[in-house]
């Protein structure tokens, strides 16, 4: 059954068709949200919200659009709203990691712990990028998504996407370098 057929069946209230869409796109939606919010439970809750919104706005879905693009867009919007709403929480994490000196503990910690710390720093750095750089970079890190798809989701040209991702990488390295430099000084 084609996606369009599935969508028209959902519009008729067919739950089996809706289940098919949830099953097909759950991994994509879940990992897109995770890419933005960096927390398993939050990502799971957001993915659930994404499918609920999809169901509630099914009548506004244009026939010519791709289901994946639509779901990516809802996922990105939900994630960004979530981050905005929980800014305080993220800022506190950010500050904590910024002010915590590299203790002996961190030096002796296993690789997982080091990676966990690095992930926190990376996430804080991504979070401080401009909105479009953050969206482009985060989407780019999702498995299997092309520049063309990112351009479609963000409603910009492919060359803009390339430039956004390039600038995001340069800025991230710069931010991380300055952050780690403070720890060396």
């Amino acid at each position: 059954m084609s996606e369009q057929e599935l969508i028209s069946r959902i519009k008729q209230g067919n739950q089996q068709a809706f289940k098919q869409i949830v099953d097909d796109y759950q991994s994509m939606v879940l990992n897109t949200c995770f890419q933005f919010v960096n927390d398993r439970d939050d990502a799971k809750d957001l993915a659930q919200d994404v499918f609920v919104e999809m169901y509630n706005s099914i009548y506004s879905f244009r026939g010519d659009a791709k289901v994946s693009t639509w779901l990516y867009r809802i996922s990105v919007n939900k994630s960004l709203n979530f981050i905005k709403k929980h800014k305080r929480k993220f800022l506190i994490d950010d500050l904590e990691s910024f002010f915590s000196n590299k203790s002996e503990e961190t030096y002796n910690a296993d690789k997982n712990m080091e990676d966990h710390e690095r992930a926190k720093h990376l996430y804080a750095a991504i979070h401080s990028l401009s909105k479009n750089q953050r969206i482009a970079f985060s989407l780019h890190k999702i498995d299997g998504i092309s520049y063309t798809e990112i351009a479609e989701i963000m409603n910009v040209s492919v060359s803009s996407v390339e430039s956004l991702i390039h600038r995001a990488k340069v800025n991230l390295k710069k931010k991380l370098f300055n952050f780690y430099k403070k720890n060396v000084d």
């Binding site: 499918f51 992930a119 890190k141 390295k173 991380l176 430099k181």
Partner: protein, 150 residues
């Protein structure tokens, strides 16, 4: 090259914007300086985290959870309807009803005032005529009676 130069030129370095000569002297310093090496390694290792991000596995109960949330939200809407909107709607209906009622009532009142006075006039006219005719009848019959008496 010293550490400070590496710090200053790192941006150009990571962006491949250094001259060949500067690039070489920077790489030379980094390979010899533990601090600078640690810094640059740490940045690269952190950037690698983004590339090797684990994938979350799907939740087998996702569809059930989604369905449940849709049901909960619709009952919430119903409950919201019952709790706030229904009394508001009811008050609005009552207010509209009262307004229409008062409007119509005063119209009817005026109309009925008009019509009752009209009908009163009619009655008066009619009854006076009737009285008149009765009077005539009476008087004529009295006349006839008196005449008959006579």
């Amino acid at each position: 090259m010293i550490c400070k130069d590496v710090h200053k030129k790192y941006d150009l370095f990571q962006n491949d914007q250094l001259s060949k000569h500067e690039m070489e002297s920077m790489e030379q310093h980094i390979s010899a300086c533990a601090d600078c090496k640690w810094l640059i390694d740490e940045v690269n290792k952190t950037m690698d985290i983004a590339n090797n991000k684990e994938l979350l596995s799907v939740d087998p109960f996702m569809f059930t959870r989604v369905q449940q949330q849709i049901i909960n939200e619709s009952t919430k809407t119903v409950r919201l309807w019952g709790k706030f909107l229904q009394p508001i709607a009811a008050s609005v209906v009552i207010i509209i009803g009262l307004t229409i009622g008062i409007g119509l009532g005063s119209k009817f009142y005026n109309d009925s005032l008009k019509s009752s006075s009209e009908s009163r006039e009619e009655i008066n006219t009619f009854s006076s005529e009737e009285v008149y005719f009765e009077a005539i009848d009476y008087s004529s019959s009295l006349e006839a009676f008196l005449l008959a008496e006579e």
